[in-house]
C-alpha cells in the first residue's frame, strides 16, 4: 500500500550494500511521492473534502528526503505545520496519513490530530506541531533521553526560519551544546514566514545564531538532495558518536501559498520569482537530470516511477475517503494516559 517504500532497519547512506544507483532512485521516488501527495492534498482541500488548514511542502522535498535518508528508522524527528513531507520521508504510509488529514479513524492519530499533528512512533516521528518553534524543546528532550538512556539515536528537529523568532529555540540550543546532545536543528529556510520575507524579521545571519553557542553549523542548497544528504550524513554521524549538536540551514522554497487558500500573494512575492524556482531549482528535476546523466535511468524509467507513485497515492486517497469517521464516543478518550 505504501507508496513511500518502507526503509530497512539501517536505511540511507549507512547501508553499504545499497548501490549508489538504487539509493538515488529510491530518493527520487520518495520526492515524487511527496509531490504527488501534496497535489492530492490540494485537490482534496479545494474540493472541500479536507477540513481545517493545509500547508503544502511542494518545492522543499529534497530537505526532508535528503535528511531522513541519512537517518535510521529508530532515530527521531520532530516536524512542523508544514509536515507531510517529513512524515513521508521518515517512512509513514500515505493511506494512514490521508486518513488523518480527513479526520478518519484509520488515521495516524485516529482523526484527533489532523494535518498539523501527525505523529508515528513506528517511524520515530515525535509529531508535527502547529506552534511555530513548538517542537524545539521536544526534540532537544528526546536527544537528552537518547544520550542518557545510552542509545546512539539521533534527533532531527525540523523548523521553518520563522521559528528563529522564538526565544525558546535559543534556550534549548544552549542546553544542547552544554550537554553535547545528539540533536540536529534543521532550519528550512523557504524565505517566507507566512506572508513576510525572512529578511524583514531576522536580524544578523541565520547561522550566526548557532555559532554564538559554539554549535557546529552548515549551510546547504536545499534543492540539491545529494548535497543535503551528504552534509546531513556527516552531522548525524558526528552527533551519533557523541560530538554534540549541529545546526543545518537548508535554503529552499515553498511553491504554493502559505496554506491552500493563500492565492493572492503578489503583494509579498512575485509570480516571476515563484516561476524561477519551479523551472530552475526544482529538486525533483535536478535529481532526475543527474540520474539520467549518470546513466542510472532514462526519461521513460523516471516516468514509470512517477506513474507507479501516482497509482499508490491515488489508492491511498481512495482508502482515506472510504474510511469511516471515529465514533463520537471517542472524543474523551486519550485525554490522560
Amino acid at each position: 500500500m505504501s507508496a513511500v517504500t518502507s526503509k530497512p532497519e539501517t536505511a540511507g547512506t549507512a547501508e553499504k550494500s545499497t548501490s549508489e544507483k538504487e539509493k538515488w532512485l529510491h530518493a527520487h521516488r520518495q520526492m515524487v511521492s511527496i509531490r504527488l501527495f501534496e497535489e492530492q492534498v490540494n485537490e482534496l482541500y479545494t474540493r472541500a473534502l479536507m477540513p481545517g488548514l493545509a500547508h503544502l511542502y511542494s518545492g522543499e522535498e529534497a530537505v526532508a528526503v535528503g535528511i531522513c535518508e541519512a537517518l535510521r528508522i529508530d532515530d527521531y524527528i520532530t516536524s512542523t505545520h508544514r509536515g507531510h513531507g517529513h512524515c513521508l520521508a521518515k517512512g509513514a504510509a500515505p493511506d494512514r496519513m490521508f486518513a488523518e488529514l480527513l479526520g478518519k479513524e484509520a488515521g495516524y492519530c485516529r482523526g484527533k490530530g489532523g494535518s498539523m499533528h501527525i505523529a508515528d512512533p513506528a517511524t520515530g516521528n515525535l509529531g508535527a506541531n502547529a506552534i511555530v518553534g513548538g517542537s524545539v524543546g521536544i526534540a532537544t528532550g528526546a536527544a537528552f533521553a537518547a544520550k542518557n538512556l545510552g542509545t546512539d539515536r539521533v534527533v532531527v528537529c525540523f523548523f521553518g526560519e520563522g521559528a528563529l523568532g522564538q526565544g525558546s529555540l535559543y534556550e534549548v540550543m544552549n542546553l544542547a551544546q552544554l550537554w553535547k546532545l545528539p540533536v540536529i536543528y534543521v532550519c528550512e529556510n523557504n524565505q517566507y514566514n507566512e506572508y513576510t520575507h525572512y529578511q524583514d524579521t531576522t536580524a544578523g545571519t541565520i547561522l550566526g545564531r548557532a555559532v554564538a553557542f559554539g554549535i557546529e553549523t552548515a549551510k546547504v542548497d536545499g534543492q540539491d538532495i545529494r548535497a543535503v544528504n551528504k552534509i546531513a550524513a556527516g552531522l548525524i554521524q558526528r552527533a551519533r558518536s557523541g560530538d554534540g549538536p549541529a545546526f543545518l540551514q537548508c535554503d529552499t522554497y515553498r511553491y504554493s501559498g502559505h496554506h491552500v487558500g493563500d492565492i493572492h500573494r503578489e503583494y509579498y512575492r512575485s509570480k516571476h520569482e515563484e516561476q524561477l524556482w519551479k523551472t530552475e531549482r526544482d529538486p525533483i528535476r535536478l535529481l532526475g537530470s543527474w540520474l539520467i546523466e549518470q546513466g542510472y535511468a532514462d526519461a521513460p524509467a523516471l516516468e514509470t516511477i512517477s506513474l507507479e507513485a501516482r497509482k499508490s497515492i491515488e489508492a491511498a486517497v481512495k482508502f482515506a475517503i472510504d474510511a469511516p469517521y471515529p465514533s463520537v464516543s471517542e472524543v474523551d478518550e486519550d485525554v490522560y494516559a
Partner: protein
C-alpha cells in the same frame, strides 16, 4: 434611513482606525499585521492609512513583542498587540501576568501599562488542538488585567475603543467564527464602559448568561424555547473583569433559573465563576441549581464530528433549558 451594518471584523478595524486617528500614541504590533492585514484580514487597510511605523510587522516572537508593548506602554505609548490565535497567549504569559498585570501595583501606583492585547477564541473551525482554544479564563484570573469578550459588531467597536483608552492592560478576545457576522454599528464615536452587562433579549422564565461565541447560541436557543412557550432572557456580561454582578443577579432573581454558557473550559473556568456569583447573590430566589455549559474537558479534536461534540449547541442549550423549566 436604515442603520449602517458592519461585520464584526470591520467593527474592530473601525475602532482601531478611529482611535489611531484620535491619538497618535496608539500603534499596532503583531505578525503579518501590515500588508497582510492578519490572516483573518481584520486589519487590512490600516498600514496604508497609518504607515509602517504605527502598524508594525513583528517576527514570530510573541513573548518578545508583548514585552515590548508593556515597556512602550509604561514609557508613554498605547500599543495594541495582535496575537493571531488565542492559543498563543501561552507564549506571552510572563509578560502579561508577571509584568503587565502587576507593574502598577508593585510600583505603588507610579507606573501604568495602558496596552491592549487583541486575540481570538473559539472552536469548530477544524483547526485542531493548538488553534481552537478559548483561554480567556486564564487572564480573567489575574488581578490587574481586564478581559473583554464582545459578541456583536456594535459591542466590539464600543468596547475596543474603551479598552484602548483604558489606563490598564486589557485583553480583548474575538471569536474567529464571528468575524463575518453583521450587525448595526453607528458611525459616531461611541464607547461602551467596561463592566456593564447587556441584556440581549428579555424574558421571564429562565436566564441564559452567555459570553462571546455563546451569545448567538443562547439567542438561537431562546428562539427554540419561545416556540415551546418558554420565555428566556439572554444576558451578556461583555467583560469577565470588571464584572457586572448586579445585572446577572437581578436577572437570576427575576427568572429564578439560570444556565451559564461560555466556550472556555468549565472546570475552574468562567462559567464556574459566574455561576458562583449568581448562586451567592440570588440563592434564595433560585428554583434550580445554576447549570454550567462550556467546552468539553478535552483538547479540541480535529475530526469534525468529534470537534462539534465539544461545544454547546443551540439544541443542547434548548434541551437543558426546557428540562429545567419543567
Amino acid at each position: 434611513m436604515p442603520e449602517r451594518e458592519l461585520t464584526f471584523a470591520q467593527a474592530v478595524r473601525e475602532a482601531l482606525a478611529e482611535e489611531m486617528r484620535r491619538d497618535s500614541r496608539v500603534c499596532i504590533l503583531g505578525e503579518d499585521v501590515a500588508e497582510a492585514g492578519t490572516p483573518f484580514k481584520v486589519l487590512s487597510g490600516l498600514v496604508e492609512e497609518f504607515g509602517a511605523k504605527r502598524v508594525v510587522d513583528t517576527p514570530i516572537s510573541e513573548a518578545g513583542f508583548t514585552g515590548v508593548a508593556v515597556g512602550a506602554a509604561m514609557a508613554g505609548m498605547r500599543p495594541v498587540v495582535d496575537i493571531m490565535f488565542g492559543d498563543f497567549i501561552t507564549l506571552t504569559m510572563d509578560q502579561m501576568v508577571n509584568q503587565a498585570a502587576k507593574v502598577h501595583y508593585m510600583s505603588g501606583g507610579h507606573w501604568k501599562v495602558p496596552m491592549v492585547m487583541r486575540t481570538t477564541l473559539g472552536a469548530t473551525r477544524r483547526s485542531a488542538a493548538q488553534h481552537s482554544q478559548s483561554l480567556h479564563a486564564w487572564f480573567s484570573h489575574v488581578p490587574g488585567l481586564k478581559v473583554i469578550l464582545p459578541s456583536t459588531p456594535y459591542d466590539a467597536k464600543g468596547l475596543l475603543k474603551s479598552a484602548i483608552r483604558d489606563e490598564n492592560p486589557v485583553v480583548f478576545f474575538e471569536d474567529k467564527m464571528m468575524y463575518k457576522l453583521k450587525g448595526p454599528v453607528p458611525e459616531d464615536d461611541y464607547t461602551i464602559p467596561l463592566g456593564v452587562a447587556d441584556v440581549k433579549r428579555e424574558g421571564d422564565d429562565i436566564t441564559l448568561v452567555a459570553t462571546s461565541s455563546m451569545v448567538q447560541v443562547a439567542l438561537g436557543a431562546a428562539d427554540l424555547l419561545d416556540r415551546e412557550g418558554i420565555s428566556a432572557e439572554v444576558v451578556d456580561p461583555r467583560t469577565t473583569w470588571p464584572l457586572d454582578e448586579e445585572t446577572l443577579i437581578d436577572s437570576a432573581k427575576k427568572t429564578s433559573r439560570v444556565i451559564v454558557l461560555d466556550e472556555g473550559y468549565g472546570r475552574y473556568g468562567v462559567t464556574s465563576e459566574l455561576a458562583a456569583v449568581i448562586a451567592e447573590g440570588a440563592f434564595y430566589d433560585l428554583d434550580a441549581p445554576v447549570k454550567r455549559m462550556g467546552a468539553m474537558h478535552v483538547p479540541i479534536p480535529f475530526s469534525p464530528l468529534l470537534e462539534d461534540a465539544t461545544v454547546p449547541t443551540e439544541q443542547n442549550v434548548f434541551e437543558v433549558a426546557r428540562s429545567m423549566c419543567q
